[in-house]
């Protein structure tokens, strides 16, 4: 599946920043390619109606690499791609030709030529530089444009084959010497054994948890959420897809006067479940207010807004957060350890989306370890659980006898558990449910 073709490597010379690659190795490969005896066999290649001399096909390169270095096709494809990206080989639409020496025209003339030749063909980063250069060397700009036009006119005299080759050489040259602005992530030549070794060393050093513990986690999770999984256990009052009744959705919208029992139970499964639920968060805030530590949740929420909000508002939001929560004597000062505080204050000088991450994480864990477990034991939570709605199952009025069988032979254990729960609910007290939910908070 998927077009794993050669052509995707050779269509874009997308160099990524001047990272010090293992150019020595690549150069060795290129030199080897040109060896008269063991190197690549080059021949004339057709490009539409033009014939390019001394060129080779992508397939030839791959085959040669496989045979010479005893590597597999995938590795050869990747090496080939790297050689192209770093300009050692450059493509000519279909056939390709080998770079021997790059053209020496200065950068602004090159950009001007490209701009004239095909209006609007400049890449984004090239456009930016073009206007930057224009501003900087405005006084000589006419000269630049004139030179560009001259060079273009002269090149028209050449044979089309030579012209194509030279244009591509030039493009490759400038891609190496004036690469596009480095993106935040660097392009690593991962297939090369030396880089693979580094990756392996790092992988070896990682912490691994015993599989027995991990597996137990999955089993526990599935069991805990089974009642909350409509496909496994059905849902109350009914599954809208089956009954065509939207009551379930209505009862479970974001903000309702009284949430359902299952929903309130989920708040006890993990701290994130509580925080992700609007009503849960509101209840938790009420609890924190009683304990005079509501500023923690307010701070956490403000940090979330910075992380996920519009870029343009980041600076003003960071200012707000500093004023309200971090500045000495702030109205809702949050208790962060000095190391994190110093780091955050330093970062605020140059605010960005993730500047509050460390402080937010600190407060998150503070709430999770301290306030959250106490909330679950509080009367506030227990009352919420007690008055939560347990919807009555809607009997299908049209075909009352069509009780959908999900399991043709339900396990007796399941039937017993269900019966016990129903009794518990009928009693109405939060006791039975209380013991269930207090056990096993998710990490």
């Amino acid at each position: 599946m998927g077009p794993k073709s050669c052509c995707c490597l050779f269509t874009g010379v997308g160099a990524c920043g001047g990272e010090q690659m293992s150019t020595k190795t690549m150069e060795k490969v290129i030199v080897a390619m040109q060896d008269p005896d063991m190197g690549m066999k080059m021949r004339n290649q057709r490009l539409l109606i033009t014939v390019i001399p001394h060129a080779m096909t992508g397939r030839d390169i791959i085959d040669w690499l496989i045979q010479k270095y005893s590597i597999c096709e995938e590795e050869a494809l990747h090496l080939g791609g790297m050689l192209v990206r770093y300009g050692y080989i450059y493509p000519l639409k279909e056939p390709r030709s080998l770079v021997l020496r790059a053209d020496e025209s200065p950068y602004p003339i090159y950009l001007a030529k490209k701009n004239i030749r095909k209006q609007g063909e400049l890449m984004e980063y090239e456009k930016e530089r073009y206007s930057l250069l224009h501003k900087r060397i405005n006084h000589t700009w006419d000269f630049v444009v004139m030179q560009a036009r001259e060079q273009l006119r002269a090149s028209k005299q050449r044979r089309k084959a030579d012209r194509i080759v030279l244009e591509c050489q030039e493009q490759a040259y400038w891609l190496i010497n004036r690469p596009p602005v480095c993106l935040l992530s660097l392009c690593v030549c991962i297939w090369l054994p030396c880089f693979q070794i580094e990756i392996c060393r790092r992988a070896l050093g990682r912490n691994r948890v015993k599989s027995s513990i991990c597996l137990e986690g999955f089993v526990k999770y599935s069991e805990q959420y089974q009642n909350h999984d409509p496909i496994m256990q059905g849902c109350l009052p009914s599954n809208p897809w089956i009954s065509d009744d939207t009551a379930h959705w209505t009862m479970n919208t974001d903000i309702v006067p009284t949430p359902t029992r299952l929903r309130v139970e989920r708040w006890s499964f993990s701290f994130m479940e509580l925080l992700n639920d609007s009503i849960g968060r509101r209840e938790f805030m009420t609890y924190l207010e009683k304990e005079f530590s509501a500023e923690n949740l307010c701070f956490w929420q403000a940090c979330e807004e910075i992380r996920h909000g519009e870029s343009s508002k980041i600076i003003e939001k960071v200012e707000e957060v500093y004023k309200n929560f971090l500045a000495p004597g702030a109205a809702r000062w949050v208790n962060i350890d000095s190391k994190t505080m110093d780091k955050t204050l330093e970062g605020i000088k140059r605010p960005h989306r993730f500047v509050m991450d460390d402080a937010q994480m600190h407060i998150y864990f503070l709430m999770k370890k301290d306030s959250y477990p106490r909330y679950l034991k509080s009367d506030l939570y227990k009352n919420m659980l007690a008055k939560a709605i347990v919807p009555q199952e809607t009997k299908k009025s049209v075909f009352p006898f069509m009780r959908r069988q999900r399991h043709s032979s339900p396990s007796p254990a399941q039937a017993i558990t269900q019966a016990t729960e129903e009794d518990g609910r009928a009693k109405g007290a939060g006791q039975a449910a209380g013991t269930n939910s207090a056990g096993g908070s998710q990490v």
């Binding site: 599946m1 935040l184 070896l204 948890v209 599989s211 496994m232």
Partner: protein, 342 residues
């Protein structure tokens, strides 16, 4: 020349030695098997889901679908050149988005419900505002040098894409520029899935590897191997601690992130069709995997057994999805229909 080859060989030897050590480290923590751990769990029995709705409207193969966060709307993409936004409850088509390029391979719904994105053989991820009077193109994200196989929104301002050029990319929708490029795969990236806290994501590629990435740093944090062919589908287990993959080698696998290895495989000697897509029920207990044999087979994720099948499509099941509220499962097929089951 001989010296070069010798150098390469020595490096390869060192690399292989390290890989052996990693395998040993993984074996050392592998003190249990999923069958042992799940021995006490109640059996699921035979899972028989009924077809509840069939959504008709596309005129050609459906390649992708994605649920909205409201669990009611859903967007589907077909090579008839249209995206359709459905109200799955009523079966009505709410919005039809005509595509510039009909060769679409992926579609995504933003969590806010305001935006949808699609892309395919045009190498471009196009983002549309569907809340406008008529769907408006918000951004055309054009920098991949290969087809767009998958896309997922983090918010209305950020989107992740996976491409046949072997990279994944995080884009800033406010500027339309690439923020982070994730390079490490050596085969076409076919699928990606975002963790619930949006700090990490996983990708599956034609190099038969699944990789875990840090969204902010752009680094590959973990790699999982084991499949013998292209990985076409990938998803997180709802707890966030495991990754489920589906592959052309006709199997699905679960990899645990903390134990750093495969913990269980889902295969059947009678099943000789590749896996095209997968989705999990909300508790993670059931895996719905779409196959080339026109069916969607249901697996018990803990016991590793096949517990059911969704038959009804007349062609390959190309996409599967379970909504956030877990109400049921939707399958989309090359037969141009979407079916809802539970």
């Amino acid at each position: 020349m001989a010296a070069e080859k010798a150098e390469m060989d020595a490096l390869k030897k060192e690399c292989d030695a390290l890989r052996t050590q990693i395998e040993a480290a993984r074996k050392a923590v592998n003190d249990s098997s999923m069958s042992a751990a799940s021995g006490g769990a109640t059996a699921v029995g035979r899972v028989q889901l009924k077809l509840r709705k069939t959504l008709k409207g596309h005129l050609a193969k459906i390649y992708a679908m994605h649920w909205s966060a409201d669990s009611r709307q859903m967007v589907s993409a077909s090579q008839d050149g249209k995206l359709l936004v459905w109200d799955t409850f009523t079966g009505n088509k709410l919005v039809a988005v005509p595509l510039k390029s009909a060769w679409v391979m992926s579609v995504a719904f933003a969590p806010s419900g305001n935006l949808v994105a699609s892309g395919g053989l045009d190498n471009i991820c196009t983002v549309y505002n569907i809340k406008a009077a008529s769907p408006k193109t918000l951004r055309e994200l054009d920098a991949h040098t290969g087809y767009l196989s998958c896309c997922r929104f983090l918010s209305d301002t950020e989107i992740l894409t996976a491409s046949g050029d072997t990279t994944c990319c995080l884009w800033d929708l406010e500027t339309g520029k690439q923020k982070v490029i994730f390079t490490n795969h050596i085969g076409d990236c076919m699928s990606l899935a975002l963790s619930s806290d949006m700090n990490t994501f996983i990708s599956g590629a034609c190099d038969s590897l699944a990789k875990l990435w840090d969204v902010r740093e752009g680094a590959c944090k973990q790699t999982f191997s084991g499949h013998t062919s292209d990985i076409n589908a990938i998803s997180f287990f709802p707890s966030g601690n495991a990754v489920i993959t589906g592959s052309d080698d006709c199997t699905c696998k679960m990899y645990d992130l903390r134990a750093d290895q495969e913990v269980i495989g889902y295969q059947d000697t009678n099943l000789n069709a590749g896996v095209t897509s997968l989705a999990l029920s909300s508790s993670g207990r059931l895996i719905f995997a779409g196959y080339d044999d026109f069916n969607c087979h249901i697996w018990d994720s803990l016991k590793g057994e096949k517990v059911g099948v969704l038959s009804g499509h007349d062609n390959r099941v190309s996409c599967t999805g379970v909504p956030a509220d877990g109400m049921g499962v939707c399958t989309g097929s090359w037969d141009s229909f979407l079916k809802l089951w539970n």
